[in-house]
């Protein structure tokens, strides 16, 4: 009995009222979901239409829902930290809790918000933009999603079962090693992130092949929409950066579980090797979460300036340059590790080089706006606000790139301000921009403009109140990851302002959530499929797009293909209506979900070093793979008359 209570009190995180609160709310939410689904008899619908779906549009929506939920969790973490730091000597969180909270905040924001949100948007938009009926490997696409999802769930479970990781999102050795960090928290980080990382690699391959091989006839590489280009380059970076991370995480897991000595201090291990491998992935990761939003801004700015993008070719080549350079700048994250002068010099220069193609793009957007007929919609506001706010992050980044100066800025609030300027003004503004822009394509109605603008202004102004003062706080000497500070240093008032800004951003997010709810009920229907007068092919099909995307695959002859089609129509050159042909589509499959479930079980087993659970979990994964290999009949046909019926119902037949 004693043993059992002892075990349980370690298994479940105990002793903190906030965590009991979380336990209760998780339990209530789960019960609520089960009750609602059962009451409305929606289980079968959920399984048939969503959990087993291989349709890129549904997978995209599921990514975005998951990412929004994770953004909420990461945001609550951020507000907890800011509450603790609002005043000197606060006792809201203790040191240990503060460590856990910034660790989960950083990891969740990067791995479980930024990436899946981008993956969601690219799932929605890329196949439609290139005139394809799905991605190259729809089954694999579903598998990627479920690996991400179960990886994220495993990571979040740490909050209530076993304890959260606390070594920062960068999980530096030796602190993250078994000796200094016993317990399961760090295992959750290593394994949860690993599982979702495998999914990311698969997504990279999937989209690279999709874009290379499945473009509509006539769409040469240099006629692709800029968002598609950005995803092509991002996929390349994902494909070649993630394997390094997979290895780094695996090596640290092996250190912790099997007593190896990669990153330990004893027996010849090298903690610096961890920093080296982590950032070999970590720097390209920065571009993984930035290039796609550059693509989104390019689309949105061109659409609402009603002009074609200025300097398309330069933009493409600068992204290609970034894909090469992003793999040779990683050391700028640890200039202060004691490297030799030639090493620091090389990486300092390569870092400044990579700023050039990034800076070039800013001018492209400005020239696109120049003399455009600008329409200030919500997506456009996010895009316009991005330019100045992101530039501040970029300029401070170049300051940090100078190795000698970095000795001063390193790990101060100057750095915290810098990376939030790029991650929020870049990635977060970008995903919000894309969310508003493609929302009608996803759901067939528009988000409300008025609420959208409110959420924009509140969020954007609060962002500046929150993060601008941090630069000065950093220069005044406040270092990163401090859980409290004494009075009398002059930091108090600035910190208080920052916290006000943080809560303002929370308010902006709440308004956006309200907008989603309000518009779901009252939102304006998008009956044309082209609510923004768009320029690219996704706007040429119905909103929401039918399962097969296009009844006829479009033929492309220029950039801004849909704009050209509309031009032709205005000139009265319409093409004759072709007869419909049956369409070949992939079948749904439950295997990706089940495989993700086995991964979760295996991951949970390894977190607790329960090999009796971990190994059967892995065998389940292999069994799913073999089962899939023997499935031969994985496609079905949509008959021509059904296509005609669907097109007619969408009002697309005259």
């Amino acid at each position: 009995m004693q043993n059992i209570t002892n075990f349980l009190s370690h298994f479940f995180v105990t002793g903190d009222p906030m965590i009991y609160g979380a336990d209760a709310s998780i339990a209530l939410a789960s019960i609520g979901i089960v009750v609602v689904l059962t009451y409305f008899k929606k289980w079968k619908w959920l399984w048939d239409e969503w959990l087993t779906s291989v349709d890129h549009k549904r997978i995209g929506i599921m990514y975005i829902i998951a990412a929004l939920l994770m953004l909420f969790r990461g945001g609550v973490d951020a507000l907890m930290m800011r509450t603790q730091l609002a005043l000197p000597n606060m006792h809201f969180l203790n040191a240990e809790h503060y460590n856990q909270v910034f660790t989960t905040h950083g990891t969740i924001m990067i791995i479980f918000v930024a990436m899946p949100f981008i993956f969601g948007l690219m799932n929605i938009a890329v196949p439609l933009q290139i005139g394809a009926r799905d991605v190259a490997f729809p089954f694999l696409n579903a598998l990627s999603f479920w690996l991400f999802f179960f990886g994220a769930m495993l990571f979040n479970l740490s909050f209530v079962i076993g304890g959260s990781p606390d070594a920062g999102w960068s999980s530096y050795a030796p602190f993250a090693g078994a000796e200094l960090n016993p317990g399961v928290g760090q295992n959750y980080y290593l394994i949860g992130v690993q599982i979702s990382g495998i999914g990311s690699l698969a997504t990279g391959i999937n989209f690279l092949v999709t874009i290379l091989k499945m473009r509509a006839p006539g769409m040469t590489l240099f006629k692709m929409p800029m968002f598609t280009w950005s995803i092509l380059i991002t996929s390349v970076i994902v494909i070649f950066a993630f394997p390094a991370f997979t290895v780094a995480l695996a090596l640290m897991t092996i250190d912790r579980l099997f007593g190896a000595h990669f990153f330990t201090i004893a027996a010849g291990g090298s903690p610096m090797l961890w920093a080296n491998l982590f950032w070999f992935w970590g720097h390209p990761e920065v571009y993984i979460v930035l290039l796609p939003v550059f693509g989104i801004f390019s689309e949105v700015i061109a659409t609402f300036a009603h002009k074609t993008l200025f300097g398309y070719v330069v933009m493409v080549w600068s992204m290609i340059a970034i894909s090469f350079l992003s793999f040779i700048t990683w050391l700028h994250h640890f200039f202060t590790m004691g490297n030799t002068a030639p090493v620091n010099a090389f990486f300092s220069i390569s870092t400044m080089l990579i700023a050039i193609p990034t800076g070039v793009k800013i001018f492209n957007w400005l020239f696109t706006l120049n003399r455009g007929r600008i329409e200030f919609t919500t997506p456009m506001l996010w895009a316009l606000a991005f330019i100045p706010n992101f530039t501040i992050g970029g300029v401070t980044g170049v300051m940090l790139a100078m190795a000698p100066a970095d000795y001063q800025y390193h790990n101060s609030y100057f750095l915290v301000a810098h990376f939030h300027s790029t991650l929020i003004a870049g990635t977060v503004f970008g995903i919000f921009c894309g969310l508003h822009y493609w929302w009608p394509k996803m759901f067939g109605y528009l988000l409300n403009e008025k609420l959208g603008k409110w959420s924009f202004w509140v969020f954007m102004i609060s962002f500046n109140i929150c993060f601008m003062p941090m630069y000065f706080l950093g220069l005044m000497g406040m270092t990163r990851r401090m859980y409290t500070y004494p009075a009398g240093l002059g930091w108090g008032p600035i910190n208080f302002i920052i916290t006000i800004g943080a809560f303002g951003m929370g308010l902006g997010f709440i308004i956006m959530a309200l907008n989603i709810v309000w518009s779901a009920i009252h939102g304006k229907k998008d009956t044309t499929g082209d609510p923004w007068d768009g320029r690219t092919l996704e706007w040429s099909t119905a909103s929401p797009a039918p399962e097969y995307n296009f009844a006829h695959i479009p033929t492309v002859s220029t950039r801004d293909a849909f704009e050209a089609m509309k031009e032709e129509k205005r000139e009265g050159r319409t093409k004759p209506q072709l007869p419909f042909k049956p369409i070949h589509m992939p079948n749904n499959s439950g295997i990706p979900f089940i495989m993700g479930g086995f991964m979760f079980v295996a991951g949970f087993g390894f977190v607790f070093e329960w090999f009796w659970m971990g190994i059967p979990g892995l065998l389940g994964v292999v069994a799913c793979m073999i089962a899939r290999s023997f499935v031969y009949n994985d496609h079905h046909h949509i008959p021509a008359d059904e296509i005609e019926r669907i097109e007619r119902a969408a009002g697309r037949l005259s």
């Binding site: 091989k213 070649f240 080296n276 070999f280 004691g338 490297n339 090493v343």
Partner: protein, 105 residues
């Protein structure tokens, strides 16, 4: 597309498998050559390492071309660029890590 299934396969697939046999002989030859350079000769360490690494790269390309048909397919340029990019990044991580960490431990 089903009519293709029974299409006769081109000439080079009939007769003695020269390509494969030459590939095997070359790989075995290069392996023993590398062994001899490393164990049999006593060159300076750096020279030995340079030679054996060069031999390994050569042998890898034999596999790539003789066995893996890297230049085959509807658009082989895709996989060729992919493999080249992989080689670039693999080189960056190996050379970079050794360069960076040689002096900090």
């Amino acid at each position: 597309m089903h009519e293709n299934e029974n299409q006769a396969i081109k000439q080079e697939h009939t007769g003695f498998p020269w390509k494969q046999v030459v590939g095997l002989i070359l790989s075995l030859g290069l392996t023993f050559l590398a062994l001899w350079v490393a164990i049999g000769l006593s060159l300076p360490v750096n020279v030995t390492l340079t030679i054996i690494v060069a031999l390994a790269i050569f042998q890898a390309f034999i596999q790539l071309f003789m066995f893996m048909h890297v230049t085959e397919g509807t658009e082989p340029v895709h996989q060729i660029i992919g493999i080249l990019f992989g080689i670039y990044v693999a080189f960056a991580v190996v050379a970079g890590s050794i360069w960076i960490l040689a002096h900090v431990f």
